[in-house]
């Protein structure tokens, strides 16, 4: 398994292998999911005509693969899905990125894709919440909103013809992320869902699962009341849900909150090591498992928890399939 660098002793190795074998046998694999490598011919039924999709090309009347991956077929379309390629952005994805550069009227953001994404100044809410044209003064004050090496979350607005990505962060839930940590996981482990923002009130933690494989775990800053925002006293504070007030930043998060953030972050790391899909339910299961085993946070990345998580997941999936049958 790629990327697992755990030192397992003999029994742990056996348990892990057994759990992984169980998961393999449970996962449904149809016969047409053939893994191909570069220049392998793909068996295609030519009678109905065939559409050669991404990752294929034609050679002597045969369809050959240009990527290493798994063959996917949809009606007449045949394409090769690469297993470990970079994140391929699509319109509407929610992503977490890091500001790389502040340029004229836009920010350049690194989102773990082929190219950096671009966030135009006009696609970002102003601190004073007024909808207006961006003036030259706004352009000069861009650094107040985002600086280099800040983290932020946004949505992909569109993909231009030359591959440039445009982001938009117009809603309240998008914007700068602070008081937390960023985790980088392989992007294929985060599937597109309805909800990418999760708030855990009982632990005071907010979780953003970016489709590009960047996951943000941070402190949950309680929403300011909408009524309070309109009062003239608060207009110069520039405090929103995501940016946070200046006084609070100086105070720092509570120790308990920080421990929860670290525990959840380690849970995500364990899942990424085992190459399991990262969803809210699985993260909470790992979190609860580590709490029930009374593992101190720095021991969470050890071999024991990885093996227990694998076994737990195998059991859970086998019981859910049994229930279906």
């Amino acid at each position: 398994m790629r990327g697992i660098q755990l030192s397992l002793n003999q029994t742990q190795k056996l348990r892990l292998l057994r759990a992984l074998d169980k998961l393999d046998s449970l996962s449904s694999k149809s016969n047409s999911n053939v893994s191909v490598i570069v220049a392998d011919t793909i068996s295609v039924n030519y009678d109905g005509g065939v559409l050669k999709g991404h990752g294929t090309s034609e050679l002597d009347g045969e369809v050959v693969a240009t990527l290493c991956g798994v063959v996917e077929r949809v009606n007449k379309l045949v394409y090769v899905r690469a297993l470990r390629a970079r994140y391929k952005p699509e319109t509407g994805d929610i992503i977490v990125g890091r500001i790389v550069e502040v340029s004229q009227k836009r920010w350049r953001i690194d989102i773990n894709a082929n190219q950096d994404a671009v966030l135009m100044l006009s696609s970002m809410n102003m601190p004073d919440k007024i909808q207006r044209r961006r003036t030259a003064v706004d352009e000069l004050n861009m650094r107040i909103i985002f600086e280099e090496n800040d983290f932020m979350c946004a949505e992909i607005r569109n993909l231009q013809h030359d591959g440039t990505l445009q982001l938009q962060a117009r809603s309240e839930k998008y914007g700068k992320l602070d008081r937390g940590q960023l985790l980088k996981v392989p992007c294929y482990l985060v599937k597109r869902r309805k909800q990418h923002f999760h708030q855990l009130d009982q632990y005071v933690v907010t979780l953003v699962l970016g489709c590009n494989g960047y996951i943000w775990v941070g402190e949950l800053i309680p929403e300011k009341d909408a009524v309070m925002e309109d009062l003239p006293n608060n207009t110069d504070q520039a405090s929103t849900n995501t940016t946070g007030g200046v006084e609070k930043a100086q105070a720092g998060s509570a120790t308990e909150t920080r421990k929860n953030i670290c525990r959840i972050a380690n849970a995500v790391r364990v899942l990424s090591t085992l190459s399991f899909n990262i969803t809210m339910e699985v993260i909470m299961e790992v979190f609860n498992l580590s709490v029930s085993l009374n593992l101190p946070i720095d021991h969470m990345l050890g071999a024991e928890l990885c093996v227990s998580v694998a076994e737990r997941e195998a059991e859970r999936r086998s019981t859910s399939t049994k229930r279906k049958v």
């Binding site: 398994m1 790629r2 990327g3 393999d24 999911n33 893994s35 191909v36 490598i37 570069v38 220049a39 990752g55 090309s57 050679l59 050959v64 240009t66 990527l67 290493c68 991956g69 798994v70 690469a82 297993l83 470990r84 390629a85 970079r86 082929n114 190219q115 950096d116 030359d162 591959g163 294929y188 190459s275």
Partner: protein
């Protein structure tokens, strides 16, 4: 304690191979038809090759290869942003770099980039990669030779094409490479360092097995046309065999990765 024997070339570095001069004298009668290669191989026999992908976890794709004692590790980064100075181009760019570690050769030397090998690697790979699939971006290929024991550049080319396949870069086919050394009437495949150092001529072919296309041919020395044909046929059949080994390595890696998802 460190007395010099037979006057080695560099008087300040310690070399474990202190009796090189005596060994060289034995070699001189290589036009002799009974000459046997140093490791007992046949003339047209290559060393066993070992390939493994996924050696470097930080890179987009990577591969490690061994050919006898020669060891090479290649990491591929990208496609990633080109430098600002680059104007818009609708094809991608390929950037290759081959460097030797300081402990790669028998005499410790300054580890530095090998510019000639880097440009040869670039020419060998650019025919196989579909550059239109990543416009405006760059793919960086970094090759590091850990131990050099003859036939370095062919192994670097083969390992680099595996690393590119591992990174998910679209290619027409894998690129395999084999080099051949000419000693009088004998053509020997996959030469060692000593065999390379007193060869009459050399020929290196980089070949795409499934497409039956040669991406690059490098010849040094004096060759007749019939000799070139014979040498190329030998190299191409060796490349096809090497291609099978590489494909089986990729298949294992792809099957293992497909099981995870």
């Amino acid at each position: 304690m460190a007395t010099k024997r037979g006057g080695s070339a560099s008087s300040t570095t310690y070399s474990p191979w202190s009796n090189q001069k005596t060994r060289r004298q034995k070699r001189l009668d290589l036009k002799d038809p009974d000459w046997v290669r140093a490791d007992g191989r046949l003339f047209h026999q290559c060393r066993p090759a070992f390939f493994r992908t996924g050696a470097v976890s930080a890179a987009a794709g990577s591969a490690y290869a061994e050919l006898g004692d020669t060891k090479v590790i290649v990491s591929v980064f990208g496609p990633r942003e080109s430098k600002k100075a680059m104007l818009y181009s609708d094809v991608g760019r390929l950037n290759c770099n081959v460097s030797y570690t300081t402990f790669a050769t028998s005499v410790r030397e300054q580890g530095s980039d090998h510019k000639e090998y880097s440009s040869t690697l670039h020419k060998a790979l650019e025919g196989a990669i579909i550059l239109e699939s990543f416009p405006k971006t760059t793919v960086d290929v970094f090759a590091l030779v850990l131990e050099s024991s003859g036939s370095d550049l062919p192994l670097v080319v083969s390992c680099a094409s595996l690393a590119l396949a591992d990174a998910g870069i679209m290619m027409y086919d894998l690129v395999t490479a084999v080099s051949l050394s000419c000693h009088g009437p004998n053509l020997i495949l996959d030469p060692l360092v000593e065999e390379e150092s007193h060869q009459d001529g050399s020929l290196m072919v980089t070949y795409m097995p499934s497409r039956v296309e040669v991406t690059q041919l490098t010849i040094t020395g004096e060759w007749s046309v019939s000799r070139i044909h014979e040498a190329m046929n030998l190299c191409i059949s060796a490349c096809s065999r090497l291609g099978d080994v590489m494909r089986s390595c990729l298949k294992e890696a792809a099957a293992a990765a497909a099981d995870d998802t």
